[in-house]
Protein backbone atom coordinates (compact mmCIF):
# COMPACT_ATOMS: atom_id res chain seq x y z
CA UNK A 1 0.00 0.00 0.00
CA UNK A 2 2.27 2.71 -1.22
CA UNK A 3 0.04 5.75 -0.82
CA UNK A 4 -0.91 5.16 2.81
CA UNK A 5 0.18 7.65 5.38
CA UNK A 6 2.03 6.40 8.42
CA UNK A 7 0.06 5.67 11.54
CA UNK A 8 -3.38 5.75 9.97
CA UNK A 9 -5.44 2.83 11.12
CA UNK A 10 -7.75 1.50 8.44
CA UNK A 11 -11.06 -0.12 9.25
CA UNK A 12 -10.96 -3.86 8.95
CA UNK A 13 -13.07 -3.98 5.82
CA UNK A 14 -10.67 -1.61 4.05
CA UNK A 15 -7.71 -3.68 5.21
CA UNK A 16 -9.32 -6.74 3.65
CA UNK A 17 -9.86 -4.84 0.40
CA UNK A 18 -6.25 -3.65 0.51
CA UNK A 19 -5.03 -7.22 0.95
CA UNK A 20 -7.14 -8.28 -2.03
CA UNK A 21 -5.74 -5.39 -4.05
CA UNK A 22 -2.18 -6.46 -3.28
CA UNK A 23 -2.88 -9.84 -4.89
CA UNK A 24 -4.06 -8.11 -8.06
CA UNK A 25 -1.12 -5.71 -8.00
CA UNK A 26 1.35 -8.58 -7.73
CA UNK A 27 -0.11 -10.31 -10.73
CA UNK A 28 -0.71 -7.30 -12.99
CA UNK A 29 1.81 -4.69 -11.83
CA UNK A 30 1.57 -1.44 -13.80
CA UNK A 31 -1.72 -2.42 -15.43
CA UNK A 32 -3.51 -1.31 -12.26
CA UNK A 33 -3.30 1.98 -10.38
CA UNK A 34 -2.51 2.49 -6.72
CA UNK A 35 -5.10 1.58 -4.16
CA UNK A 36 -7.50 4.25 -2.91
CA UNK A 37 -8.16 3.32 0.71
CA UNK A 38 -11.28 5.38 1.34
CA UNK A 39 -13.73 3.97 3.84
CA UNK A 40 -16.81 4.08 1.70
CA UNK A 41 -15.80 2.14 -1.36
CA UNK A 42 -12.10 1.37 -1.63
CA UNK A 43 -11.12 1.13 -5.25
CA UNK A 44 -8.37 0.89 -7.80
CA UNK A 45 -8.30 1.73 -11.46
CA UNK A 46 -7.38 -0.46 -14.38
CA UNK A 47 -4.85 1.62 -16.30
CA UNK A 48 -4.48 -0.72 -19.25
CA UNK A 49 -8.08 -1.01 -20.35
CA UNK A 50 -7.44 -3.97 -22.66
CA UNK A 51 -6.38 -6.09 -19.65
CA UNK A 52 -9.71 -5.58 -17.85
CA UNK A 53 -11.11 -8.94 -18.91
CA UNK A 54 -8.05 -10.85 -17.67
CA UNK A 55 -8.10 -8.93 -14.41
CA UNK A 56 -11.81 -9.62 -13.98
CA UNK A 57 -11.39 -13.32 -14.53
CA UNK A 58 -8.38 -13.37 -12.18
CA UNK A 59 -10.37 -11.57 -9.49
CA UNK A 60 -13.24 -13.97 -9.78
CA UNK A 61 -11.21 -17.17 -9.71
CA UNK A 62 -8.10 -16.54 -7.59
CA UNK A 63 -8.43 -18.49 -4.32
CA UNK A 64 -7.51 -15.42 -2.27
CA UNK A 65 -9.89 -13.09 -4.12
CA UNK A 66 -13.02 -15.03 -5.11
CA UNK A 67 -14.99 -11.97 -6.15
CA UNK A 68 -17.96 -14.09 -7.11
CA UNK A 69 -20.53 -11.31 -7.16
CA UNK A 70 -20.80 -8.14 -9.19
CA UNK A 71 -23.10 -5.95 -7.12
CA UNK A 72 -23.27 -3.09 -9.59
CA UNK A 73 -21.72 -1.63 -12.68
CA UNK A 74 -22.27 2.07 -13.31
CA UNK A 75 -21.19 4.36 -16.08
CA UNK A 76 -19.43 7.67 -15.45
CA UNK A 77 -18.71 10.64 -17.69
CA UNK A 78 -15.43 12.55 -17.21
CA UNK A 79 -15.73 15.44 -19.66
CA UNK A 80 -12.62 17.20 -18.28
CA UNK A 81 -10.47 14.16 -19.03
CA UNK A 82 -12.29 13.46 -22.33
CA UNK A 83 -13.09 10.03 -20.96
CA UNK A 84 -15.95 7.70 -20.16
CA UNK A 85 -15.70 5.01 -17.56
CA UNK A 86 -17.35 2.29 -15.57
CA UNK A 87 -17.25 1.56 -11.86
CA UNK A 88 -17.73 -2.07 -10.91
CA UNK A 89 -18.63 -2.95 -7.33
CA UNK A 90 -17.40 -6.43 -6.58
CA UNK A 91 -17.94 -8.60 -3.55
CA UNK A 92 -16.94 -12.04 -2.44
CA UNK A 93 -20.34 -13.06 -1.26
CA UNK A 94 -20.42 -15.83 1.32
CA UNK A 95 -16.82 -16.87 0.63
CA UNK A 96 -14.26 -14.28 1.77
CA UNK A 97 -16.66 -11.43 2.48
CA UNK A 98 -14.47 -8.62 1.16
CA UNK A 99 -15.44 -6.02 -1.42
CA UNK A 100 -13.74 -3.60 -3.75
CA UNK A 101 -14.57 -1.27 -6.60
CA UNK A 102 -12.78 -1.25 -9.92
CA UNK A 103 -12.74 1.67 -12.33
CA UNK A 104 -12.10 1.26 -16.02
CA UNK A 105 -11.93 4.18 -18.43
CA UNK A 106 -11.89 4.67 -22.16
CA UNK A 107 -11.84 7.53 -24.64
CA UNK A 108 -14.96 9.70 -24.68
CA UNK A 109 -15.35 9.53 -28.44
CA UNK A 110 -15.51 6.04 -29.89
CA UNK A 111 -13.87 4.46 -26.88
CA UNK A 112 -14.41 0.86 -25.90
CA UNK A 113 -13.96 -1.35 -22.85
CA UNK A 114 -13.71 -5.15 -22.97
CA UNK A 115 -16.91 -6.76 -21.74
CA UNK A 116 -17.03 -8.49 -18.36
CA UNK A 117 -20.32 -10.20 -19.13
CA UNK A 118 -18.64 -13.59 -19.60
CA UNK A 119 -17.08 -13.26 -16.16
CA UNK A 120 -20.16 -12.07 -14.27
CA UNK A 121 -23.47 -12.48 -16.08
CA UNK A 122 -24.78 -9.52 -14.11
CA UNK A 123 -22.53 -7.34 -16.22
CA UNK A 124 -24.53 -8.12 -19.35
CA UNK A 125 -27.47 -5.82 -18.70
CA UNK A 126 -25.45 -3.36 -16.64
CA UNK A 127 -23.08 -2.84 -19.55
CA UNK A 128 -26.01 -2.38 -21.88
CA UNK A 129 -27.32 0.28 -19.52
CA UNK A 130 -23.93 2.03 -19.37
CA UNK A 131 -23.81 1.98 -23.17
CA UNK A 132 -27.38 3.26 -23.37
CA UNK A 133 -26.67 6.20 -21.05
CA UNK A 134 -23.05 7.05 -21.91
CA UNK A 135 -22.27 5.52 -25.28
CA UNK A 136 -19.07 3.57 -24.67
CA UNK A 137 -18.79 0.29 -26.56
CA UNK A 138 -18.20 -3.01 -24.78
CA UNK A 139 -16.09 -5.16 -27.07
CA UNK A 140 -17.23 -8.76 -27.20
CA UNK A 141 -20.59 -8.07 -25.59
CA UNK A 142 -23.07 -10.78 -26.63
CA UNK A 143 -25.98 -8.36 -27.14
CA UNK A 144 -24.78 -4.79 -27.51
CA UNK A 145 -28.10 -2.99 -27.84
CA UNK A 146 -29.68 -0.15 -25.91
CA UNK A 147 -31.62 -1.48 -22.94
CA UNK A 148 -33.88 1.35 -21.66
CA UNK A 149 -34.16 4.03 -24.33
CA UNK A 150 -35.85 3.18 -27.62
CA UNK A 151 -33.53 1.68 -30.24
CA UNK A 152 -33.63 4.81 -32.38
CA UNK A 153 -33.06 7.31 -29.56
CA UNK A 154 -30.53 10.03 -30.33
CA UNK A 155 -27.66 10.74 -27.97
CA UNK A 156 -26.68 9.40 -24.57
CA UNK A 157 -28.79 10.95 -21.81
CA UNK A 158 -26.40 10.82 -18.86
CA UNK A 159 -23.50 12.56 -20.59
CA UNK A 160 -22.87 15.94 -19.02
CA UNK A 161 -23.35 17.78 -22.31
CA UNK A 162 -26.51 15.92 -23.34
CA UNK A 163 -29.28 18.00 -24.86
CA UNK A 164 -32.65 16.38 -25.36
CA UNK A 165 -33.76 15.87 -28.95
CA UNK A 166 -36.48 18.16 -30.33
CA UNK A 167 -38.91 15.46 -31.39
CA UNK A 168 -39.23 11.71 -31.34
CA UNK A 169 -41.41 10.07 -34.01
CA UNK A 170 -43.16 13.39 -34.52
CA UNK A 171 -43.87 13.91 -30.80
CA UNK A 172 -42.38 17.01 -29.20
CA UNK A 173 -39.92 16.01 -26.47
CA UNK A 174 -38.99 19.17 -24.49
CA UNK A 175 -41.48 20.62 -22.03
Amino acid sequence: MSDMEEGRVLPQSVQQSAAAYEVVREAFGPAVSDFDANEFMPFFEVLETEKWQDIALFMRDHPRLKFNYMACLSGVDYPAEEKLGIVCNLESLGVLGHRIAVKVKCARNGGSIPTASYVWHTANWHEREAFDMFGMQFTGHPDPRRILCPEDWEGFPLRKDYAVQESYHGIKVPY
Binding site: P150, W153, Y162, H169, I171, K172, V173, P174, Y175
Partner: protein
Protein backbone atom coordinates in the same frame (compact mmCIF):
# COMPACT_ATOMS: atom_id res chain seq x y z
CA UNK B 1 -78.44 9.60 -10.16
CA UNK B 2 -80.32 11.29 -12.96
CA UNK B 3 -82.87 8.90 -14.29
CA UNK B 4 -83.65 6.99 -11.13
CA UNK B 5 -84.05 10.11 -9.02
CA UNK B 6 -87.50 10.46 -10.51
CA UNK B 7 -89.64 7.95 -8.69
CA UNK B 8 -91.68 5.45 -10.61
CA UNK B 9 -95.26 6.26 -11.25
CA UNK B 10 -97.84 3.80 -10.06
CA UNK B 11 -97.79 1.90 -13.36
CA UNK B 12 -94.04 1.46 -13.20
CA UNK B 13 -93.58 3.68 -16.20
CA UNK B 14 -90.87 6.28 -16.66
CA UNK B 15 -91.15 8.74 -19.47
CA UNK B 16 -87.85 10.10 -20.70
CA UNK B 17 -85.87 10.76 -23.86
CA UNK B 18 -83.74 8.22 -25.70
CA UNK B 19 -80.68 10.36 -25.05
CA UNK B 20 -81.31 10.18 -21.34
CA UNK B 21 -81.67 6.42 -21.30
CA UNK B 22 -78.60 5.86 -23.44
CA UNK B 23 -76.50 8.26 -21.39
CA UNK B 24 -77.70 6.78 -18.13
CA UNK B 25 -76.82 3.30 -19.33
CA UNK B 26 -73.38 4.36 -20.55
CA UNK B 27 -72.41 6.36 -17.51
CA UNK B 28 -73.55 3.64 -15.16
CA UNK B 29 -71.19 1.07 -16.62
CA UNK B 30 -67.94 2.81 -17.45
CA UNK B 31 -65.39 0.13 -18.12
CA UNK B 32 -61.84 1.43 -17.88
CA UNK B 33 -58.99 -0.44 -19.46
CA UNK B 34 -56.93 -2.15 -16.79
CA UNK B 35 -53.48 -0.72 -17.30
CA UNK B 36 -51.24 1.43 -15.17
CA UNK B 37 -47.93 3.06 -15.94
CA UNK B 38 -46.32 4.10 -12.66
CA UNK B 39 -46.99 4.98 -9.02
CA UNK B 40 -50.38 6.54 -9.83
CA UNK B 41 -51.50 3.09 -10.92
CA UNK B 42 -51.12 1.91 -7.32
CA UNK B 43 -53.60 4.55 -6.25
CA UNK B 44 -55.90 3.57 -9.11
CA UNK B 45 -55.77 -0.05 -7.96
CA UNK B 46 -56.53 1.07 -4.43
CA UNK B 47 -59.55 2.92 -5.79
CA UNK B 48 -60.69 -0.24 -7.50
CA UNK B 49 -60.22 -2.30 -4.35
CA UNK B 50 -62.70 -2.81 -1.54
CA UNK B 51 -62.16 0.39 0.47
CA UNK B 52 -63.20 2.73 -2.32
CA UNK B 53 -65.05 0.10 -4.32
CA UNK B 54 -65.48 1.54 -7.80
CA UNK B 55 -67.90 -1.22 -8.69
CA UNK B 56 -70.63 0.62 -6.88
CA UNK B 57 -70.51 3.03 -9.84
CA UNK B 58 -70.46 0.20 -12.33
CA UNK B 59 -66.79 0.92 -13.01
CA UNK B 60 -64.65 -2.14 -13.28
CA UNK B 61 -61.44 -2.69 -15.21
CA UNK B 62 -61.39 -4.74 -18.39
CA UNK B 63 -58.29 -6.39 -19.67
CA UNK B 64 -58.82 -5.57 -23.33
CA UNK B 65 -59.05 -2.18 -25.04
CA UNK B 66 -61.77 -3.57 -27.26
CA UNK B 67 -64.08 -4.02 -24.28
CA UNK B 68 -63.35 -0.68 -22.64
CA UNK B 69 -64.80 2.76 -23.10
CA UNK B 70 -62.57 4.62 -20.67
CA UNK B 71 -58.82 4.91 -20.57
CA UNK B 72 -57.33 5.99 -17.25
CA UNK B 73 -53.79 7.08 -18.04
CA UNK B 74 -52.43 6.43 -14.57
CA UNK B 75 -48.79 7.33 -14.36
CA UNK B 76 -45.68 8.43 -16.17
CA UNK B 77 -45.97 8.15 -19.94
CA UNK B 78 -42.50 7.59 -21.34
CA UNK B 79 -41.64 8.38 -24.94
CA UNK B 80 -41.37 4.64 -25.51
CA UNK B 81 -44.82 4.03 -24.02
CA UNK B 82 -46.47 6.99 -25.78
CA UNK B 83 -46.82 5.14 -29.05
CA UNK B 84 -48.27 2.11 -27.29
CA UNK B 85 -50.77 4.34 -25.49
CA UNK B 86 -51.84 5.72 -28.86
CA UNK B 87 -52.22 2.21 -30.24
CA UNK B 88 -54.32 1.13 -27.25
CA UNK B 89 -56.44 4.24 -27.61
CA UNK B 90 -57.01 3.49 -31.26
CA UNK B 91 -58.08 -0.05 -30.41
CA UNK B 92 -60.86 1.18 -28.13
CA UNK B 93 -64.32 1.37 -29.71
CA UNK B 94 -66.09 4.71 -29.89
CA UNK B 95 -67.41 6.46 -27.89
CA UNK B 96 -64.32 6.45 -25.72
CA UNK B 97 -63.14 8.68 -22.92
CA UNK B 98 -59.71 9.50 -21.58
CA UNK B 99 -58.96 10.45 -18.00
CA UNK B 100 -55.45 11.67 -17.35
CA UNK B 101 -54.56 10.79 -13.77
CA UNK B 102 -51.73 12.57 -11.98
CA UNK B 103 -49.19 15.25 -12.75
CA UNK B 104 -47.07 12.96 -14.91
CA UNK B 105 -49.68 12.26 -17.51
CA UNK B 106 -51.09 15.80 -17.21
CA UNK B 107 -47.84 17.63 -17.93
CA UNK B 108 -44.76 15.51 -17.20
CA UNK B 109 -44.99 15.94 -13.44
CA UNK B 110 -41.70 15.72 -11.53
CA UNK B 111 -39.94 14.90 -14.81
CA UNK B 112 -40.95 18.05 -16.62
CA UNK B 113 -37.43 19.43 -16.88
CA UNK B 114 -34.86 16.69 -16.60
CA UNK B 115 -36.94 13.71 -17.66
CA UNK B 116 -35.57 13.34 -21.16
CA UNK B 117 -37.60 10.16 -21.63
CA UNK B 118 -40.97 11.42 -20.34
CA UNK B 119 -43.79 12.65 -22.52
CA UNK B 120 -44.75 16.07 -21.18
CA UNK B 121 -48.46 15.42 -21.05
CA UNK B 122 -50.42 12.59 -22.61
CA UNK B 123 -52.56 15.19 -24.40
CA UNK B 124 -49.68 15.55 -26.84
CA UNK B 125 -50.67 12.21 -28.33
CA UNK B 126 -54.33 11.53 -27.47
CA UNK B 127 -57.28 13.81 -26.65
CA UNK B 128 -57.95 14.02 -22.91
CA UNK B 129 -61.42 14.67 -21.46
CA UNK B 130 -60.69 15.02 -17.76
CA UNK B 131 -57.47 15.84 -15.92
CA UNK B 132 -57.06 14.80 -12.30
CA UNK B 133 -54.26 16.72 -10.56
CA UNK B 134 -52.11 15.23 -7.82
CA UNK B 135 -48.94 13.26 -7.33
CA UNK B 136 -50.56 10.82 -6.92
CA UNK B 137 -54.19 11.93 -6.69
CA UNK B 138 -55.98 10.39 -3.74
CA UNK B 139 -58.71 7.86 -4.55
CA UNK B 140 -61.27 10.56 -3.73
CA UNK B 141 -59.83 12.76 -6.48
CA UNK B 142 -59.88 9.91 -8.96
CA UNK B 143 -63.49 9.22 -8.08
CA UNK B 144 -64.12 12.94 -8.54
CA UNK B 145 -62.58 12.72 -12.01
CA UNK B 146 -64.68 9.69 -12.86
CA UNK B 147 -67.82 11.52 -11.75
CA UNK B 148 -66.76 14.33 -14.08
CA UNK B 149 -66.61 11.81 -16.93
CA UNK B 150 -70.10 10.69 -15.96
CA UNK B 151 -71.29 14.29 -16.03
CA UNK B 152 -69.73 14.69 -19.46
CA UNK B 153 -71.62 11.64 -20.69
CA UNK B 154 -74.81 13.11 -19.27
CA UNK B 155 -74.21 16.24 -21.38
CA UNK B 156 -74.06 14.26 -24.60
CA UNK B 157 -76.84 14.09 -27.14
CA UNK B 158 -77.25 12.31 -30.42
CA UNK B 159 -75.71 14.59 -33.02
CA UNK B 160 -73.75 16.66 -30.52
CA UNK B 161 -69.98 16.61 -30.89
CA UNK B 162 -67.65 15.87 -28.00
CA UNK B 163 -66.30 19.40 -28.14
CA UNK B 164 -69.77 20.80 -27.72
CA UNK B 165 -70.53 18.40 -24.89
CA UNK B 166 -67.35 19.53 -23.13
CA UNK B 167 -68.39 23.15 -23.63
CA UNK B 168 -71.81 22.37 -22.16
CA UNK B 169 -70.12 20.71 -19.19
CA UNK B 170 -67.87 23.72 -18.67
CA UNK B 171 -70.85 26.07 -18.80
CA UNK B 172 -72.65 24.04 -16.14
CA UNK B 173 -69.68 23.74 -13.84
CA UNK B 174 -69.72 25.64 -10.58
CA UNK B 175 -66.79 27.48 -9.07
CA UNK B 176 -65.72 25.27 -6.17
CA UNK B 177 -64.32 28.23 -4.26
CA UNK B 178 -67.77 29.77 -3.99
CA UNK B 179 -69.27 26.51 -2.79
CA UNK B 180 -66.51 26.15 -0.20
CA UNK B 181 -67.07 29.70 1.02
CA UNK B 182 -70.79 29.07 1.25
CA UNK B 183 -70.21 25.93 3.32
CA UNK B 184 -67.82 27.78 5.59
CA UNK B 185 -70.25 30.60 6.16
CA UNK B 186 -73.00 28.08 6.94
CA UNK B 187 -70.76 26.38 9.50
CA UNK B 188 -69.83 29.68 11.15
CA UNK B 189 -73.41 30.91 11.27
Amino acid sequence: MGLLDASFSKHNVVVTSVDNVLNWARLSSLWPMGFGLACCAIEMMATNASNYDLERFGIFPRSSPRQSDLMIVAGTVTMKMAERVVRLYEQMPEPRYVLSMGSCSNCGGPYWEHGYHVLKGVDRVIPVDVYVPGCPPRPESLIGGLMKIQELIRMEQIGLSRTDALKKLAAKSVDPQQAIERERRAVRA
